[in-house]
Protein backbone atom coordinates (compact mmCIF):
# COMPACT_ATOMS: atom_id res chain seq x y z
CA UNK A 1 0.00 0.00 0.00
CA UNK A 2 1.47 3.35 -0.98
CA UNK A 3 1.37 6.66 0.85
CA UNK A 4 -1.49 8.02 -1.23
CA UNK A 5 -3.84 5.07 -0.64
CA UNK A 6 -3.02 5.11 3.06
CA UNK A 7 -3.83 8.82 3.23
CA UNK A 8 -7.05 8.07 1.35
CA UNK A 9 -8.15 5.51 3.93
CA UNK A 10 -7.18 7.95 6.70
CA UNK A 11 -9.29 10.63 5.03
CA UNK A 12 -12.27 8.27 4.72
CA UNK A 13 -12.02 7.30 8.39
CA UNK A 14 -11.72 10.97 9.38
CA UNK A 15 -14.92 11.71 7.50
CA UNK A 16 -16.63 8.88 9.39
CA UNK A 17 -15.29 10.03 12.76
CA UNK A 18 -16.20 13.64 12.11
CA UNK A 19 -19.70 12.69 11.01
CA UNK A 20 -20.16 10.58 14.13
CA UNK A 21 -19.05 13.43 16.39
CA UNK A 22 -21.27 15.88 14.52
CA UNK A 23 -24.34 13.68 14.87
CA UNK A 24 -23.91 12.34 18.39
CA UNK A 25 -22.31 15.15 20.38
CA UNK A 26 -24.95 17.57 21.65
CA UNK A 27 -22.62 20.47 22.46
CA UNK A 28 -22.18 23.04 19.70
CA UNK A 29 -18.44 23.63 20.13
CA UNK A 30 -17.84 19.89 19.89
CA UNK A 31 -20.01 19.73 16.79
CA UNK A 32 -17.82 22.45 15.32
CA UNK A 33 -14.65 20.49 16.09
CA UNK A 34 -16.17 17.37 14.56
CA UNK A 35 -17.22 19.30 11.49
CA UNK A 36 -13.66 20.52 11.05
CA UNK A 37 -12.43 16.92 11.30
CA UNK A 38 -14.92 15.93 8.61
CA UNK A 39 -13.72 18.80 6.43
CA UNK A 40 -10.07 17.91 6.79
CA UNK A 41 -10.91 14.32 5.87
CA UNK A 42 -12.48 15.56 2.64
CA UNK A 43 -9.41 17.73 1.98
CA UNK A 44 -7.23 14.68 2.46
CA UNK A 45 -9.23 12.81 -0.20
CA UNK A 46 -8.50 15.72 -2.56
CA UNK A 47 -4.84 15.36 -1.62
CA UNK A 48 -4.90 11.69 -2.60
CA UNK A 49 -6.30 12.54 -6.03
CA UNK A 50 -3.63 15.23 -6.38
CA UNK A 51 -0.83 12.81 -5.47
CA UNK A 52 -2.11 10.16 -7.85
CA UNK A 53 -2.33 12.78 -10.56
CA UNK A 54 1.39 13.43 -10.45
CA UNK A 55 2.53 14.20 -13.97
CA UNK A 56 4.54 16.62 -16.06
CA UNK A 57 7.37 16.70 -13.56
CA UNK A 58 5.40 17.80 -10.53
CA UNK A 59 4.71 15.46 -7.65
CA UNK A 60 1.02 16.31 -7.21
CA UNK A 61 -1.73 17.71 -9.45
CA UNK A 62 -1.88 21.44 -8.67
CA UNK A 63 -5.63 21.88 -9.28
CA UNK A 64 -6.91 19.87 -6.29
CA UNK A 65 -4.11 21.39 -4.20
CA UNK A 66 -5.30 24.90 -5.00
CA UNK A 67 -8.89 23.91 -4.21
CA UNK A 68 -7.83 22.54 -0.83
CA UNK A 69 -5.94 25.75 0.00
CA UNK A 70 -9.05 27.80 -0.76
CA UNK A 71 -11.08 25.29 1.20
CA UNK A 72 -8.93 25.54 4.33
CA UNK A 73 -9.28 29.32 4.37
CA UNK A 74 -13.06 29.19 3.84
CA UNK A 75 -13.40 26.50 6.52
CA UNK A 76 -11.53 28.76 8.90
CA UNK A 77 -13.78 31.75 8.24
CA UNK A 78 -16.88 29.61 8.69
CA UNK A 79 -15.49 28.24 11.96
CA UNK A 80 -14.67 31.73 13.21
CA UNK A 81 -18.20 32.94 12.40
CA UNK A 82 -19.72 29.94 14.16
CA UNK A 83 -17.53 30.46 17.23
CA UNK A 84 -18.55 34.13 17.35
CA UNK A 85 -22.24 33.16 17.15
CA UNK A 86 -21.77 30.59 19.88
CA UNK A 87 -19.97 32.96 22.23
CA UNK A 88 -22.64 35.59 21.66
CA UNK A 89 -25.35 33.05 22.44
CA UNK A 90 -23.51 32.12 25.63
CA UNK A 91 -23.19 35.78 26.60
CA UNK A 92 -26.90 36.39 25.98
CA UNK A 93 -28.27 33.31 27.72
CA UNK A 94 -25.46 31.97 29.89
CA UNK A 95 -25.85 28.64 28.14
CA UNK A 96 -24.24 27.05 25.14
CA UNK A 97 -26.85 24.73 23.80
CA UNK A 98 -28.85 24.50 20.63
CA UNK A 99 -32.05 23.50 22.44
CA UNK A 100 -34.80 26.07 22.16
CA UNK A 101 -36.55 24.68 25.26
CA UNK A 102 -37.69 26.95 28.08
CA UNK A 103 -36.75 28.41 30.50
CA UNK A 104 -34.63 30.60 28.27
CA UNK A 105 -35.71 34.15 27.64
CA UNK A 106 -33.59 34.49 24.53
CA UNK A 107 -33.86 30.99 23.12
CA UNK A 108 -35.40 32.34 19.94
CA UNK A 109 -32.18 34.20 19.17
CA UNK A 110 -30.11 31.14 19.73
CA UNK A 111 -31.89 28.43 17.85
CA UNK A 112 -30.29 29.57 14.63
CA UNK A 113 -26.76 29.08 15.89
Amino acid sequence: MNTASLAGITGALLVGLGLFGLVTNPRPLRKLLAFNLLGSGVFLLFGVLARRGAAAGIAADPVPQAMVITGIVVAFSATALAVALLLRLFEETGRSTLRADPPSKAAGDGSGA
Binding site: T10, T24, L37, L44, Q65, I69, F76, L81
Partner: protein, 314 residues
Protein backbone atom coordinates in the same frame (compact mmCIF):
# COMPACT_ATOMS: atom_id res chain seq x y z
CA UNK B 1 10.37 1.17 1.18
CA UNK B 2 9.38 -0.60 4.35
CA UNK B 3 10.71 2.26 6.49
CA UNK B 4 8.57 4.70 4.53
CA UNK B 5 5.59 2.43 4.99
CA UNK B 6 6.12 2.16 8.72
CA UNK B 7 6.45 5.93 9.02
CA UNK B 8 3.27 6.53 7.03
CA UNK B 9 1.27 3.92 8.91
CA UNK B 10 2.43 5.32 12.24
CA UNK B 11 1.55 8.85 11.16
CA UNK B 12 -1.90 7.79 9.96
CA UNK B 13 -2.57 5.92 13.21
CA UNK B 14 -1.52 8.95 15.22
CA UNK B 15 -3.73 11.31 13.19
CA UNK B 16 -6.70 8.99 13.62
CA UNK B 17 -6.07 8.55 17.34
CA UNK B 18 -6.04 12.31 17.87
CA UNK B 19 -9.19 12.70 15.78
CA UNK B 20 -10.91 10.04 17.87
CA UNK B 21 -9.80 11.85 21.03
CA UNK B 22 -11.19 15.14 19.68
CA UNK B 23 -14.55 13.44 19.19
CA UNK B 24 -14.57 11.40 22.40
CA UNK B 25 -12.97 13.70 25.01
CA UNK B 26 -15.28 14.57 27.87
CA UNK B 27 -14.18 18.19 28.20
CA UNK B 28 -14.30 20.72 25.38
CA UNK B 29 -10.92 22.14 26.34
CA UNK B 30 -9.16 18.78 26.13
CA UNK B 31 -10.80 18.21 22.76
CA UNK B 32 -9.56 21.59 21.49
CA UNK B 33 -5.99 20.76 22.55
CA UNK B 34 -6.34 17.45 20.73
CA UNK B 35 -7.49 19.28 17.62
CA UNK B 36 -4.43 21.56 17.69
CA UNK B 37 -2.11 18.54 17.88
CA UNK B 38 -4.12 16.92 15.10
CA UNK B 39 -3.63 19.95 12.85
CA UNK B 40 0.14 19.83 13.44
CA UNK B 41 0.34 16.21 12.36
CA UNK B 42 -1.93 16.78 9.39
CA UNK B 43 0.58 19.22 7.92
CA UNK B 44 3.13 16.40 8.13
CA UNK B 45 0.74 14.18 6.16
CA UNK B 46 0.46 16.88 3.49
CA UNK B 47 4.26 16.97 3.18
CA UNK B 48 4.21 13.19 2.72
CA UNK B 49 1.70 13.72 -0.12
CA UNK B 50 4.14 16.23 -1.68
CA UNK B 51 1.53 18.97 -1.39
CA UNK B 52 3.85 21.42 0.34
CA UNK B 53 1.71 24.47 -0.46
CA UNK B 54 -1.19 22.82 1.36
CA UNK B 55 1.09 21.78 4.23
CA UNK B 56 2.11 25.41 4.72
CA UNK B 57 -1.52 26.52 4.75
CA UNK B 58 -2.51 23.76 7.15
CA UNK B 59 0.41 24.55 9.48
CA UNK B 60 -0.38 28.26 9.61
CA UNK B 61 -4.19 28.33 9.47
CA UNK B 62 -5.38 24.82 10.25
CA UNK B 63 -3.29 24.42 13.35
CA UNK B 64 -1.95 27.80 14.47
CA UNK B 65 -4.73 30.33 14.01
CA UNK B 66 -7.63 27.87 14.39
CA UNK B 67 -5.95 26.58 17.55
CA UNK B 68 -6.02 30.02 19.16
CA UNK B 69 -9.65 30.48 18.13
CA UNK B 70 -10.81 27.14 19.52
CA UNK B 71 -8.80 27.21 22.75
CA UNK B 72 -10.14 30.69 23.56
CA UNK B 73 -13.68 29.59 22.79
CA UNK B 74 -13.38 26.43 24.90
CA UNK B 75 -11.99 28.40 27.83
CA UNK B 76 -14.73 30.99 27.68
CA UNK B 77 -17.51 28.43 27.38
CA UNK B 78 -16.28 26.62 30.47
CA UNK B 79 -18.92 28.22 32.67
CA UNK B 80 -21.73 27.04 30.43
CA UNK B 81 -24.24 24.77 32.11
CA UNK B 82 -24.54 21.46 30.31
CA UNK B 83 -27.97 20.81 31.85
CA UNK B 84 -29.93 20.62 28.63
CA UNK B 85 -27.29 18.76 26.68
CA UNK B 86 -28.15 15.15 27.38
CA UNK B 87 -26.36 12.88 24.91
CA UNK B 88 -28.14 10.61 22.47
CA UNK B 89 -29.68 7.42 23.78
CA UNK B 90 -27.32 4.43 23.40
CA UNK B 91 -29.33 2.67 20.66
CA UNK B 92 -29.36 5.84 18.58
CA UNK B 93 -25.65 6.31 19.20
CA UNK B 94 -25.02 2.77 18.03
CA UNK B 95 -27.10 3.35 14.92
CA UNK B 96 -25.24 6.58 14.19
CA UNK B 97 -21.94 4.73 14.64
CA UNK B 98 -22.96 2.03 12.18
CA UNK B 99 -24.10 4.57 9.61
CA UNK B 100 -20.90 6.62 9.94
CA UNK B 101 -18.81 3.46 9.64
CA UNK B 102 -20.68 2.64 6.46
CA UNK B 103 -20.00 6.11 5.05
CA UNK B 104 -16.31 5.79 5.93
CA UNK B 105 -16.16 2.29 4.46
CA UNK B 106 -17.83 3.36 1.23
CA UNK B 107 -15.44 6.30 0.89
CA UNK B 108 -12.41 4.09 1.59
CA UNK B 109 -13.58 1.55 -0.97
CA UNK B 110 -14.09 4.31 -3.51
CA UNK B 111 -10.58 5.62 -2.89
CA UNK B 112 -9.09 2.17 -3.34
CA UNK B 113 -11.13 1.43 -6.47
CA UNK B 114 -10.40 4.72 -8.18
CA UNK B 115 -7.91 4.61 -11.05
CA UNK B 116 -4.28 5.06 -10.12
CA UNK B 117 -2.80 7.16 -11.69
CA UNK B 118 -5.80 9.44 -11.51
CA UNK B 119 -6.90 11.71 -14.34
CA UNK B 120 -4.85 14.83 -14.00
CA UNK B 121 -4.70 18.42 -15.14
CA UNK B 122 -1.03 18.72 -14.22
CA UNK B 123 0.27 18.70 -17.85
CA UNK B 124 -2.10 21.51 -18.83
CA UNK B 125 -1.27 23.46 -15.68
CA UNK B 126 2.46 23.13 -16.30
CA UNK B 127 2.13 23.65 -20.05
CA UNK B 128 0.50 27.06 -19.62
CA UNK B 129 2.94 28.24 -16.96
CA UNK B 130 5.09 30.25 -19.43
CA UNK B 131 2.14 32.50 -20.28
CA UNK B 132 1.80 33.44 -16.60
CA UNK B 133 5.51 33.85 -15.97
CA UNK B 134 5.18 31.81 -12.77
CA UNK B 135 7.08 28.72 -11.73
CA UNK B 136 4.68 27.37 -9.11
CA UNK B 137 1.73 25.65 -10.74
CA UNK B 138 -0.39 25.88 -7.58
CA UNK B 139 -0.06 29.66 -7.49
CA UNK B 140 -0.88 29.75 -11.20
CA UNK B 141 -4.07 27.76 -10.58
CA UNK B 142 -5.03 30.04 -7.71
CA UNK B 143 -4.41 33.43 -9.27
CA UNK B 144 -4.68 32.74 -12.97
CA UNK B 145 -6.55 29.62 -14.11
CA UNK B 146 -9.11 29.64 -11.32
CA UNK B 147 -8.82 33.32 -10.45
CA UNK B 148 -12.58 33.80 -10.17
CA UNK B 149 -12.73 31.19 -7.44
CA UNK B 150 -9.93 32.78 -5.46
CA UNK B 151 -11.40 36.26 -5.77
CA UNK B 152 -14.78 35.12 -4.47
CA UNK B 153 -13.01 33.33 -1.66
CA UNK B 154 -11.49 36.64 -0.59
CA UNK B 155 -15.01 38.06 -0.63
CA UNK B 156 -16.09 35.21 1.65
CA UNK B 157 -13.36 36.21 4.11
CA UNK B 158 -14.60 39.80 4.18
CA UNK B 159 -18.21 38.62 4.53
CA UNK B 160 -17.20 36.47 7.48
CA UNK B 161 -15.69 39.54 9.16
CA UNK B 162 -18.90 41.46 8.48
CA UNK B 163 -20.86 38.58 9.97
CA UNK B 164 -18.71 38.46 13.09
CA UNK B 165 -18.85 42.22 13.56
CA UNK B 166 -22.60 42.29 13.15
CA UNK B 167 -22.88 40.24 16.35
CA UNK B 168 -21.76 43.26 18.36
CA UNK B 169 -24.11 44.45 21.10
CA UNK B 170 -25.68 47.79 20.15
CA UNK B 171 -23.70 49.78 22.68
CA UNK B 172 -20.40 48.41 21.45
CA UNK B 173 -20.83 49.05 17.74
CA UNK B 174 -17.84 50.97 16.44
CA UNK B 175 -15.69 49.92 19.38
CA UNK B 176 -12.75 47.53 19.57
CA UNK B 177 -13.04 43.75 19.61
CA UNK B 178 -12.12 42.05 22.85
CA UNK B 179 -8.69 41.19 21.51
CA UNK B 180 -7.07 38.05 22.88
CA UNK B 181 -5.10 39.97 25.47
CA UNK B 182 -3.42 38.47 28.51
CA UNK B 183 -5.17 38.26 31.86
CA UNK B 184 -2.13 39.89 33.46
CA UNK B 185 1.06 41.37 32.03
CA UNK B 186 3.72 38.71 31.51
CA UNK B 187 7.29 39.85 30.91
CA UNK B 188 8.25 36.64 29.11
CA UNK B 189 5.26 36.87 26.80
CA UNK B 190 6.00 40.52 26.02
CA UNK B 191 9.57 39.54 25.17
CA UNK B 192 8.37 36.80 22.80
CA UNK B 193 5.98 39.25 21.16
CA UNK B 194 8.83 41.67 20.58
CA UNK B 195 11.36 39.18 19.19
CA UNK B 196 9.03 37.01 17.11
CA UNK B 197 7.34 39.54 14.78
CA UNK B 198 10.48 40.90 13.08
CA UNK B 199 11.51 37.34 12.21
CA UNK B 200 7.98 36.31 11.38
CA UNK B 201 7.43 39.25 9.07
CA UNK B 202 10.61 38.34 7.17
CA UNK B 203 9.49 34.71 6.91
CA UNK B 204 5.95 35.71 5.90
CA UNK B 205 7.12 38.01 3.13
CA UNK B 206 9.68 35.41 2.05
CA UNK B 207 6.97 32.78 1.75
CA UNK B 208 4.70 35.16 -0.16
CA UNK B 209 7.54 36.13 -2.51
CA UNK B 210 8.90 32.66 -3.29
CA UNK B 211 5.30 31.56 -3.88
CA UNK B 212 5.66 32.62 -7.49
CA UNK B 213 8.16 29.84 -8.19
CA UNK B 214 8.30 27.54 -5.17
CA UNK B 215 5.79 26.36 -2.55
CA UNK B 216 4.30 29.36 -0.80
CA UNK B 217 2.08 32.24 -1.75
CA UNK B 218 -0.35 34.86 -0.55
CA UNK B 219 -2.41 32.61 1.71
CA UNK B 220 0.54 31.12 3.53
CA UNK B 221 2.54 34.32 3.84
CA UNK B 222 -0.54 36.29 4.86
CA UNK B 223 -1.43 33.75 7.53
CA UNK B 224 2.04 34.03 9.06
CA UNK B 225 1.82 37.84 9.05
CA UNK B 226 -1.61 37.51 10.65
CA UNK B 227 -0.12 35.33 13.37
CA UNK B 228 2.50 37.98 14.08
CA UNK B 229 -0.17 40.62 14.57
CA UNK B 230 -2.05 38.21 16.80
CA UNK B 231 0.93 37.55 19.05
CA UNK B 232 1.38 41.27 19.73
CA UNK B 233 -2.30 41.47 20.68
CA UNK B 234 -2.08 38.31 22.78
CA UNK B 235 0.83 39.80 24.69
CA UNK B 236 -1.09 43.00 25.28
CA UNK B 237 1.42 45.11 23.35
CA UNK B 238 -1.17 46.35 20.87
CA UNK B 239 -4.92 46.79 21.08
CA UNK B 240 -7.25 45.62 18.36
CA UNK B 241 -8.30 48.61 16.26
CA UNK B 242 -11.90 49.77 16.54
CA UNK B 243 -14.11 48.31 13.83
CA UNK B 244 -15.05 51.79 12.70
CA UNK B 245 -11.43 52.48 11.73
CA UNK B 246 -11.31 53.51 8.08
CA UNK B 247 -7.77 52.27 7.67
CA UNK B 248 -8.67 48.80 8.93
CA UNK B 249 -11.68 48.64 6.63
CA UNK B 250 -9.60 49.72 3.63
CA UNK B 251 -7.03 47.01 4.33
CA UNK B 252 -9.78 44.41 4.73
CA UNK B 253 -11.33 45.11 1.34
CA UNK B 254 -8.13 45.98 -0.54
CA UNK B 255 -7.43 42.40 -1.63
CA UNK B 256 -10.74 41.63 -3.33
CA UNK B 257 -11.06 45.22 -4.57
CA UNK B 258 -7.69 45.19 -6.33
CA UNK B 259 -8.42 41.71 -7.69
CA UNK B 260 -11.78 42.85 -9.06
CA UNK B 261 -10.36 46.08 -10.50
CA UNK B 262 -7.62 44.23 -12.37
CA UNK B 263 -10.14 41.61 -13.47
CA UNK B 264 -12.42 44.31 -14.90
CA UNK B 265 -9.48 46.05 -16.54
CA UNK B 266 -8.79 42.72 -18.22
CA UNK B 267 -12.12 43.01 -20.05
CA UNK B 268 -10.86 46.12 -21.81
CA UNK B 269 -7.17 45.35 -22.17
CA UNK B 270 -6.90 41.59 -22.52
CA UNK B 271 -10.34 40.75 -23.88
CA UNK B 272 -11.81 38.86 -20.93
CA UNK B 273 -12.79 39.17 -17.28
CA UNK B 274 -9.76 38.33 -15.11
CA UNK B 275 -7.58 37.86 -18.19
CA UNK B 276 -4.07 39.23 -17.90
CA UNK B 277 -2.41 40.96 -20.86
CA UNK B 278 0.38 38.71 -22.13
CA UNK B 279 3.81 39.83 -21.09
CA UNK B 280 2.74 41.62 -17.93
CA UNK B 281 0.95 38.70 -16.30
CA UNK B 282 3.56 38.07 -13.64
CA UNK B 283 3.83 41.64 -12.28
CA UNK B 284 0.03 41.88 -12.19
CA UNK B 285 -0.26 38.54 -10.38
CA UNK B 286 2.32 39.61 -7.81
CA UNK B 287 0.52 42.94 -7.39
CA UNK B 288 -2.77 41.19 -6.71
CA UNK B 289 -1.07 38.72 -4.39
CA UNK B 290 0.56 41.51 -2.38
CA UNK B 291 -2.85 43.00 -1.59
CA UNK B 292 -4.32 39.58 -0.92
CA UNK B 293 -1.53 38.93 1.57
CA UNK B 294 -2.40 42.19 3.31
CA UNK B 295 -6.11 41.35 3.41
CA UNK B 296 -5.46 37.90 4.86
CA UNK B 297 -3.03 39.32 7.41
CA UNK B 298 -5.78 41.69 8.62
CA UNK B 299 -8.79 39.36 8.26
CA UNK B 300 -7.61 36.36 10.24
CA UNK B 301 -6.80 38.29 13.46
CA UNK B 302 -10.12 40.15 13.19
CA UNK B 303 -11.96 36.83 12.86
CA UNK B 304 -10.16 35.46 15.92
CA UNK B 305 -10.71 38.67 17.92
CA UNK B 306 -14.47 38.41 17.48
CA UNK B 307 -17.16 41.09 17.58
CA UNK B 308 -16.59 44.50 19.21
CA UNK B 309 -16.90 44.22 22.97
CA UNK B 310 -15.99 47.67 24.17
CA UNK B 311 -18.01 50.82 23.60
CA UNK B 312 -16.31 53.18 21.15
CA UNK B 313 -14.09 55.79 22.68
CA UNK B 314 -15.35 59.30 22.08
Amino acid sequence: MTVVNALDIGLAALVLALAAWTVAAREAFAAAVGYVAYGLLLSLVWVRLFAVDVALTEAAIGSGVTGVLLIRAAARLRGATPALDEPLAPPLRFLAGVLCAMVAGALAATVLLMPDPAPTLAPQAVGNLPSTGLGNAVTAVLISYRAFDTMLEKVVLVLAVVGVWSLAPDACWGGSPGAPRPARPEAALAFLAQVLPPLGIVVGIHIFWVGADEPGGAFQGGAILAAMWMITMMAGLTEAPPVSSTRLRLVLVSGPAVFLAIGLAGVVIAGGFLAYPSGSAKPLILFIEAFMTLTIAATLPMLVAGPPEQPPQP
